[in-house]
């Protein structure tokens, strides 16, 4: 085979334009295949990293997935809250190491506002169990103080000391403003690559305070309570959206889950983030399969193009093959020569596709993170990607047997004198 390789390469170089284009087609299809695989895995990793260290998410009984999406990813709407008393009882349970109460509902220019306690900055973990870090400033301590996620600060250009007001409700334009009670930015978190980056964090009491003179989603007409006076009211929250729970021992997680489900005072549920996430992936499995099928079809189209080009070139190369035969090439050499060519183009296409995918990840990662909060990582191809690459190579080699076989037949029939 070694004596054929230089010949195959020179012959391929001689037809570099048509082969180059098919190589590009194979490379692009491989880029698509690997890119989709990368996106899929990074999306999964991103979701999993957003809740690392949280053993249970507790909220009003309902859909586990909805609770997780809302409490952790700040997507969708909370259907129901749980009472503050339940949250306190949970925190006092002997198996519980820490709790982070979470209240959602308000927003600032499209970014969700999260009411919580200082436990958030102490216990919340992301990524590989990393704690939150401050890029500037400190946690909130006073009432009308806000801590911004990295993306909020960067996109909206806030710095420590700036003042901002919150809007009532989630969503886009046309929301009522809590304009009478502005907040000052006291801290900005370091980037995490999770929904934390897109959140504004305030104290639960502050959330209570801005809603003192509100009822049913609108300011109570005629009632205005200025910021200086809010401290005269009881600012203990009445309810929260969810509670993130860390246990002293992970072994207690199922017992705790049952304990929450059997809670007497109100219907609650405790969700294991990993389990809820796998429900989500099951839901998305069909879409993933469709994407995979589309990229697999693209690869098949690329390889079919390759075979077509190599086959089409055969007729023009009959004389070349006859000359090779006359100078000692055996029919099986001819077979190898053609199969080698297809295989080499597939290999080059796969490698170029891998390089293209890596270049795309490098080039687009900042934009994807900014737009979609999805962290794309440049990594050596892992198990699934290697498997996909292996399949592409195998398919390419198998497909290349076809022109090899045809050339073999031709060279047997033609001998040294091609009948053209």
């Amino acid at each position: 085979m070694t004596h054929l390789l230089p010949l195959a390469l020179k012959s391929a170089w001689n037809r570099r334009y048509s082969l180059g284009l098919t190589l590009l087609a194979v490379a692009l299809s491989v880029t698509l295949l690997l890119g989709i695989e990368r996106l899929r895995q990074d999306a999964r990793d991103g979701f999993a990293q957003a809740v690392s260290g949280t053993d249970l998410v507790v909220g009003a009984r309902g859909s586990a997935l909805q609770l997780l999406l809302y409490a952790v990813f700040r997507m969708g709407e909370a259907s129901q809250n749980m009472s503050w008393d339940s949250a306190r009882a949970l925190a006092a349970h002997p198996a519980v190491a820490w709790t982070i109460p979470i209240s959602l509902g308000d927003s600032h220019r499209g970014y969700p506002v999260l009411g919580t306690t200082s436990a958030y900055f102490e216990h919340f973990r992301h990524g590989d169990r990393q704690p939150l870090a401050f890029a500037a400033g400190r946690p909130f301590a006073g009432l009308f103080e806000v801590v911004l996620g990295a993306e909020v600060a960067r996109k909206l250009g806030y710095r420590a000391g700036d003042r901002l007001t919150l809007s009532h409700g989630m969503g886009g334009e046309g929301l009522a403003e809590h304009g009478d009670k502005p907040f000052s930015v006291v801290g900005i978190l370091a980037p995490t690559g999770t929904p934390v980056d897109r959140s504004l964090h305030i104290g639960l009491q502050a959330l209570e305070a801005i809603h003192l003179d509100w009822q049913g989603g609108a300011p109570i007409p005629g009632l205005v309570i200025p910021p200086e006076l809010v401290k005269k009211f009881d600012l203990t929250p009445k309810s929260v959206t969810a509670v993130l729970v860390g246990l002293k021992s992970r072994a207690a997680v199922f017992a705790m889950q049952r304990h929450v489900a059997d809670y007497r005072d109100e219907p609650l549920m405790a969700v294991l983030p990993g389990v809820a996430l796998s429900q989500l992936w099951e839901l998305l499995a069909v879409a993933e399969q469709v994407l995979r099928a589309v990229s697999a079809l693209a690869v098949a189209a690329g390889l079919a193009g390759l075979v077509a080009v190599v086959l089409a070139s055969l007729d023009q190369r009959r004389r070349e093959l006859a000359i090779l035969r006359a100078n000692g090439a055996r029919p099986r050499d001819i077979f190898l020569l053609l199969a080698l060519e297809g295989g080499a183009v597939t290999l080059a296409g796969a490698l170029l596709g891998l390089a293209l995918k890596s270049a795309l990840v490098l080039a687009l990662a900042p934009w994807v993170q900014a737009e979609f909060g999805l962290v794309l990582r440049l990594a050596w191809p892992g198990g699934e990607e290697l498997y996909a690459l292996g399949l592409v190579l195998l398919a390419g080699l198998l497909a290349s047997l076809l022109p090899g076989w045809r050339a073999y037949r031709l060279s047997l029939a033609d001998g040294m004198t091609p009948r053209l």
Partner: protein, 232 residues
């Protein structure tokens, strides 16, 4: 072994599949080592078929083809391929060269496939250089792609390729028909001189009687091939 003829055909018959009549029927043909033979054959006289039989690409229905005492019919097709490149150099009418290889790489082609030719050539590149020089191909051409050469130059490159590694038999099938008369003569002279120098027998096949001057032995398909004689 020294008594074995270079080429021996006996009682040879070949029919193309699906045809009732034999296209080749040769009672006997014998070539000695180093012998130079002119074989006259009009187109359709079966000479291409004969060459394919001698080269072992086609197998006869009957009779035997022996080259250097080896009966080709007894060899497997892969062994016949190897035997051919080991012992036979071939030159065709035209388009002898691989377009994407340089002149030098074209000449070295048999050495790529045949260890015997490679070993007999010694330093293959030096041998190729010597042959190219003998065949009046300037060194400036050696690195060029074969397609940039004139037809006459290409045929001389093909001759160098057929001669490299000193095969015992050189078969030339109308190698001069694409050349003009003056060049035909010069090419023939070079070819015969180089064959004599390397000790190769030359089986020169052409329809053109003018080229037979200087060949000590002249044959004609019409006499050799009973099938052609009957058809005529």
């Amino acid at each position: 072994m020294t008594t074995a003829p270079l080429l021996l055909l006996e009682d040879l018959e070949f029919r193309w599949p699906g045809q009732a009549e034999a296209c080749l029927d040769i009672p006997r043909l014998r070539l000695e080592t180093g012998e130079q033979v002119f074989l006259h054959g009009a187109s359709g006289s079966g000479k291409s078929t004969l060459l394919n039989l001698v080269a072992g690409v086609l197998a006869p229905m009957r009779g035997r083809v022996e080259v250097l005492g080896r009966r080709l019919g007894a060899l497997s097709s892969a062994d016949r391929d190897r035997f051919r490149v080991d012992h036979v150099g071939l030159i065709f009418q035209q388009f002898n060269l691989i377009p994407y290889l340089s002149v030098l790489d074209n000449v070295l082609l048999p050495c790529r496939f045949s260890r015997r030719r490679r070993e007999r050539a010694g330093d293959a590149r030096a041998a190729a250089a010597t042959l190219l020089r003998h065949l009046d191909l300037a060194e400036a051409l050696w690195r060029r792609p074969a397609t940039q050469l004139s037809v006459g130059q290409q045929q001389r490159v093909a001759a160098a390729r057929a001669l490299i590694g000193r095969p015992e038999l050189l078969i030339a099938d109308e190698p001069t028909s694409a050349l003009d008369a003056a060049r035909q003569e010069a090419f023939l002279e070079l070819l015969r001189r180089e064959c004599a120098e390397s000790g190769a027998a030359l089986l020169f096949v052409s329809h053109d009687h003018r080229l037979e001057q200087g060949f000590p032995r002249r044959l004609a398909m019409a006499e050799l091939n009973r099938a052609a004689a009957e058809a005529a």
